[in-house]
Amino acid sequence: MPESKHKKRDVQRPRSFWSGTIAFGLVSIPVSLYIASRSGGISLRMVDRDGTPLRRRYFCSKDAGPLEADDIVRGYEVEKDQFVIVKDEELEALAPEKSREIDLKRFVPLDQIDPIWFERGYFLAPDKGAMKAYRLLANTMEQKHRAGIATFVMRDKEYLVAIIGQQGLLRAETLRFHDELRTPDDIGLPTPDKVDAARIKAMQKEIRALSSDDLDPELLSDAHRHQLRELIDRKLAEGTDVVEAPEAAEEEEPESAEVVDLMAILKQSLGKSDGSPAKRGKDSALDDLSKTELYERARELDIPGRSKLSREQLIEAIRAKS
């Protein structure tokens, strides 16, 4: 494959949330963090009455002029309308080591971490040359039933983090700091006085009646999302209010594609010996791509009638062309 193709692919990778090094003693393991969840819902975009996708832009509240990224600074309001300007470099210099490194100084029993502390889940993918050490750490933690604990700085915020080895993979859970979780006392919840045994019994009876050993997946489904999905499908089928998006509209990909992309990346960077693109089979990689990605590729290759093709047909057409 020509070099330019790889570059194109890399552009399509979702941005990692954080890229840095895991330190296990003196062993350095460069990794990238990818978020394991998304905010949810079907992502909609803002359009003009005729369907032209609109762009979000910043304006000055005083002179109403449009602003580019270079015109914007960050400020902390110390008094009403009085700001202390803080530069990105100044924030980065506050904790340079912690911004680059997750230093696992402690390994704690996994079952000691109450999930109430969990803030957000991530997957870790090894960067170049880190595969062996990555596997060694994942394997050792899994065998010892321990998680590595550290604090680190990501996107201008410090996090407590647990690095967990599971199924030969490393995942991370950011944890809330102790003072971020309120206690019943902070809330002002009353202390229980004598609890009526008969009332407890009655409640237990109701709990038993609703008890089950297995989670019914139907109970987790989001009815609102289904209704929205149905509305969209109905309008698509009828062709009401459906317009062709201008080329520029494809710049921003819908969020749903990102999760699929993430899985493709992890499969690619973890499944092969070192995740280097040269060793990647070009054909098998296609199977890992989302339909959106496949469509993008088909567009690059100028495959005719691509919008009518199914996922499988797209793969076939791309294979035939490249």
Binding site: V27, P30, V86, V108, A249
Partner: protein, 258 residues
Amino acid sequence: MATRAMWKAVLRVGGLNVPVKLYAAIEDRSVHFRLLHKTDHAPVKQGLVNPVTDQVVEYSAARRAWASPEGDLVILKDEELAETEPQASRDIEVVQFLPPQAIDHRWYLRPYYLGPDQGGTADYFALAGALAKSGREGLAHWVMRKKAYVGALRLHAGYPMLIALHNAEDVVSIEDLEAPAGPALDRKELGMAQQLMSMLADDFEPAAYHDEYRERVEQLIATKRSGGKVRTLRPAKPKASEDLTRALQASIKERKHA
């Protein structure tokens, strides 16, 4: 200082109703910045612009649309979107009680405390007692501020808590990912890694960790406010350890002398 309740509801467990109040269990302590215009330090505001005409479009005049992978846009009217919104309700309906491991912890999104509402204190504590005795977690549905939630009902520090869950389909499951393949790991290195991990073994004590970065941000602001100087330095990112055996040996040696 007591916290203000954010919502009032009735928790329904089968035929029993418990009037409750909902409280945010998480306190946002991060330092928030505002985006300002560089030249006049006026706060910025967001607006929508039609990129073809460069005209500003008011939010009230804009519509929402869904972009299909095929490049079509389906425009949705406000009244159509309103019809898909969940019905407002004051009920928190517990639909199932499950063994503690059945609701995956990786779905946890945000916890809320439940407190008793007027006239419900006895039933509230009966619920806490019954939950403790059953050892189960409830699965609950509710609609709060036009948004439908699925949550776990469980005890925290002896008090009932609702934990809003991610939609299961929004969480990438580790089971869907392939474990990294490669040659068998070196037994000597595995042994050393285990030894090093044992040397670093400890208990988990949440109170032992502090947000030092936040304190430094606050200091930075105070320093800048009084006209003090701040430095900006960035170190380079370390490379991957090439010789694992040597790095592990050195780590173990370092710990022994620590």
